[in-house]
Every structure is written in C-alpha cells, then in structure tokens.
Symmetry: C2
Subunit: 339 residues, 2 copies
C-alpha cells in the first residue's frame, strides 16, 4: 500500500522540464527562468513533492545536519534549555539536529561518535562530556569540527564554548566574604569534571587571595538532587556546620536547600547561605529563590552559531570562547551590606 515517494523526476515530467532543472528550482543561487521556477514549484506542491535531503546530502557531501551529543540530559535540569535553544537556533540557520544521548550506564561518547560521524554531520556539538582525543582529531580531519560546550580541551583541535567557570567561582567567593561568612564550604559535583574543578579553583583561589584559608571541600557523588540531600545531612547535621555553601550546580543546591529547610529545620539565609551555579528555571521560583550564577546560554548559542557559519573550508579549529556568568542575587544567601 506504500506509494513510492514523489521524486524530482516525477515533477520534471509533469512540468515538462528536465530533472536537473527541478533541482535548480530549489536552489536560490541557480539561474532558472522565473516562470520556469514558478511552474516547477507549483507542480511540486500539487504532487506534494519534497526534495530528498538524504540524496542531496550524498551528492553535496554536506547534510546540514548537526550532531548534538548530550550527557545526562535531564538530571541537572540545565541542559534541556540548552538543547532547546540550540535546536531552535540551528533550525533558523536551516540546519537540523541529530540528537544523541549518552549516560554513564548506557554508552560513552567514544562509542557513539563513530556512529554520529557516519551520518556525515556538518559539525558536532558535545555538552558536558569529553571525547577521546583520537576521535576529536579524526572528526576535525574529515572537516567536521567539534564544539564542546562547557568543557575545555586545550591542545586539541576541538573548539570550546564555555561559561567562565573560574570567574564564576571568584564572584561567589567575593559575595560570600563580603557578606561576612566565616565557615565556607564548597560542595563539588562530579570530581573529575572540568566544570566542577574550574568553579572550585576560581572559588578557593579567591578565598585564599583574600586571606580566607579555611575552606572545606565536600564531595558530591554526582550532579543530582539526591546528592545534594545527602551532602546536607553530612555537612549540616553536625556541631559546627558551615554558614555558607557554594554548590557546583543548582541541582545540588536544591537538594541541599530542601533537606536543610524541611528535614533539618535550618533557616535560610539566616543560619545558612546557599549559592548555586547554572540558574535553572526553578531557581527563581520562591520555593527555592536560589542565589546563583547564571550561565549565559543565549550567548553560548550565538557563539556556536557563529562558529558554524564560517565559510566552507574555514571551519574553526581549536578556538575557545569564554563567556562570563552573572550573579543572580536572590534570597538563599545573605546579601553583603552596602558599606
């Protein structure tokens, strides 16, 4: 019962032209007599013809497909927004998104990348995970630039678009010290992730610069709500709890806040200041009212769009774009007095 799809040949016959002319009618840059083009497009509509993008891709060696690889799309509550904004922007540019998810349990980036490359994607956007360097080089070599989001890969040919995590850490350090905190803890996410270590680095370095040496570090197992809950129990249910905690990600802060407030009966921000990182959509809701560093998602999207719109053969290689985060002052942390 499956009717064969309509091809450009069908349209050509119906319009009384040759098949390549039909093809040209769909290319702005091809010179086709306006009348011919109009007739072709009309016939095409009648037959409900849609150009076969796959065939075009094979012929042009260019598919207008961008691969996006996302690790842990949902747990952090941050990447869905990133994905949506990327997809919408890329669609505007006439590109489509082929989505791949990787998760600790199911699959690693390196297993999946060869498959992605097989789709002849024009470029590869990879969020919050780090592919092996051989595959980075191979991808670049065949003209498919890799763009890492929130990872840096100095010394490789991968490009990076990244929130300035170090500076974000610095901003939080200043804010907490200015507010007069005496016992400050950094709650880490995944230990070996570069976002985590850069935020920590910027944070602790600044604290030390200002003579505060007593930072304690607490390891969360993972960027997750439950990890934040557990950390709260370990950190706060003690004789000498911290009076301020900087969490490596908002989702950790949510768990920490909920457990502190509803399980341990701690007053926020009177007894404890909590600051996160990302500015996920729920952070602004009064239920959390989380002071946090906002990642500049729109700017990141624009930066990627720019990298992708380089002329053919001039694909970006090894470029790094660092974009500043912004402190969103809300109610979960004491505010420095104005003097």
């Amino acid at each position: 019962m499956v009717k064969k799809p309509v091809t450009s040949i069908d349209v050509a016959k119906a319009a009384g032209v040759s098949q390549p002319t039909v093809s040209r009618a769909y290319d702005e840059n091809s010179s086709v007599a306006p009348a011919t083009r109009a007739r072709i497009l009309e016939v095409a509509k009648e037959l409900s013809y849609n150009p076969n993008v796959i065939a075009r891709g094979l012929s042009k060696q260019k598919t207008d497909i961008i691969g996006i690889v996302m690790a842990n799309l949902t747990v952090s509550l941050f990447y869905p927004e990133v994905l949506e904004k990327f997809t919408t922007r890329l669609q505007q540019m006439g590109k489509q998104v082929l989505l791949f998810t990787v998760s600790a349990e199911h699959s690693s980036v390196d297993e999946i990348l060869p498959r992605v490359l097989g789709y002849q994607v024009d470029a590869l956007i990879i969020t919050s995970t780090m592919p092996g360097s051989e595959i980075i080089e191979e991808s670049t070599r065949v003209g498919r630039p890799i763009i890492l989001i929130n990872r840096l890969a100095p010394g490789t040919s991968a490009n990076a678009v990244c929130c300035d995590n170090v500076d974000g850490g610095r901003i939080v350090a200043d804010f907490l010290l200015d507010a007069g905190h005496k016992k400050i803890t950094y709650l880490a996410g995944v230990e070996y992730s570069s976002t985590n270590s850069m935020r920590e680095q910027g944070f602790t370095r600044r604290l030390r610069e200002r003579g505060f040496t007593n930072v304690s570090l607490e390891q969360g197992d993972y960027y997750s709500y439950d990890s934040g809950c557990e950390a709260a129990r370990r950190l706060l249910d003690t004789d000498d709890p911290p009076d301020a905690i900087f969490c490596a990600a908002d989702i950790l802060a949510l768990g920490l806040l909920d457990t502190a407030k509803y399980e341990l009966g701690i007053k926020v921000p009177e007894d404890l200041s909590v600051i996160g990182f990302d500015d996920i959509p729920v952070a602004r809701m009064p239920a959390f009212d989380l002071t946090t560093i906002r990642q500049p998602v729109d700017e990141m999207v624009e930066a990627v769009a720019e990298l992708l719109s380089r002329p053919d053969g001039e694909s970006p290689i090894g470029e790094t774009i660092l974009l500043p985060g912004e402190l969103m002052i809300r109610g979960s942390a004491k505010v420095p007095s104005g003097d």
Copy 2:
C-alpha cells in the same frame, strides 16, 4: 586540509576484496566468510572507516532516523524527560533521533513537517501538538507512520500513545471529594489542547456524577509557571476562594503554590489543596511536595518502541494506546481520611 573521508572502496582495496563485500561485512544477515569479515573489519578500523549512513539510507530507502517534533520543549518541565527516554530507547534499537522544535512564535508543525519528511525518517513522533490532517495522511501514505504523544486524532491514520487523561481527571475528582472539599476549581492550560480538555472532562464529569455541580473553571493562558502565578492572584485573592484547585499541568501548580504560599500567605494544604498533572521531577521535592498524577513515561516509551518495531510494510495505522496515570499522593492536598 580536509581529507576525503574513507569509503568502502578504500577498505575494499586495502583488504583485497570487492566493495560490496565490505558492505556485507557490516550486515549481520549477509553471509561472509568469518575470516574475510574479520580482515575487513580490521582494515576498516585501521583506516578509521565508518560506513556512510546517508548513502546507505539512500540505497535502502530507510534511514533508521526517527523524527521527533517537540512543541515547547522546556516550559512545562515535563517533555525533557520524555525526550531523553525516547532518545535513549531509540538508540538502543539502532535508531537515531532527528529533533525538531516548534514554538508558537517561530514555527508551526505543518511548516516543518515537509522538511522532516525530506529526511526520509522512518517514522515521526510528535508531542503535544497536532499536525494538519493532510500531512498526516501524506506521511502515512509514503510509509512513514506518525505517532502522536498525548494527542488523539480519531479518524486519521495517525497513531497515538497517550496518558489516559480522562481517567486521570476522574481520579483527582474522587480524591478531592473524598477529602471533603466544598469549593473546587479546575485550572485549565491551553484551552484548545486535547490534553487539557480531556483532563477537564474526566474531572468535571466525575464531580457531577457524584452530585457536585459547583465546579468553577479558570482559564490559564498557557502551560507555564507564570500563568499559574496569575491564576493564583485571580482565584485566591478574593472573599470566597476555592479550597481545592486541580491544575491541568504541574507547572501551573508550581506557580499557583508559590504565589499562594509566599505571596498570599495561604497555608497548603490546610486552607487550600493543590493537585497537578505530569509528575515532573521537581514535584516530589519538599519545596513543592506536589500531589499529582504521574504520567507513565516509561510505558509510553515502550509502547512507541513496540509500534516502531513492526515488520516492514506493516506499519501501524490509526492505533491508539491509552495508558493509565497514577496518583502520587504528597503533601499539597488534603488526604481523605481512611473511613
């Protein structure tokens, strides 16, 4: 600098076989001498060859690409999870996801579907929006079944996998009546969306069945947090506010709750019971502790997987799969006493 990608011909030469044999080496069902296959795969690895999936797609008339169209991916906080689970599951089946977003402002489904079809997707999954019936029929006709998620399209060839919204509404009605509520309001989302109207229908019908005729309906403009906030102000800041509100979606309930609690000083659930629909990840957090109907996402994913694994030529047409939601009893609504 861009080296040409390695093709099966390169591998064939290097391995001393013909090109189709290389192709066969990648197909489990093709009979290739084990030794030959091993040698080919080894050579392929050395040359870092990856089969060109686009060319394969053209040749096989089948791309193993599934198009997913998502409307308003992020605002509801519900669909990211859906997307991740679908993507992960489809990857397991050896299929890839081509993602399209549509949003009220940017683009409609019907504009975008022809493009999607151009990618020769094997099937089309469409969430929370309804394509025009001509395009549904066309897609089905060319053998690319359409699967609607959370929409019903009786009388068309589209398939539907849907939470039983009517029954969900019924469950909530019973729960609220059993808890003794006297003044009940339904807070609607997008007026003309079928999820909304079915939840409302199931809810109000059941109330009436049980002799409760005094349901008021309040129109939210949209499935969004802010819409919930505004509804709270309209509904609750009055002389005679409702004592229970059933929200068409969790995200509405969050806005309603926050505004009720933090802006209007209303006690939940003492003065007001709030129930949502979806069970988004934040619903269970103590900050909201939202009683809600859980959509059976895993089951929905499995249902779709089943529809997609029908043998060639037996694509599902016009099938509807209704899956029951489950009431998650938490703290935002009074619980019926046990008698």
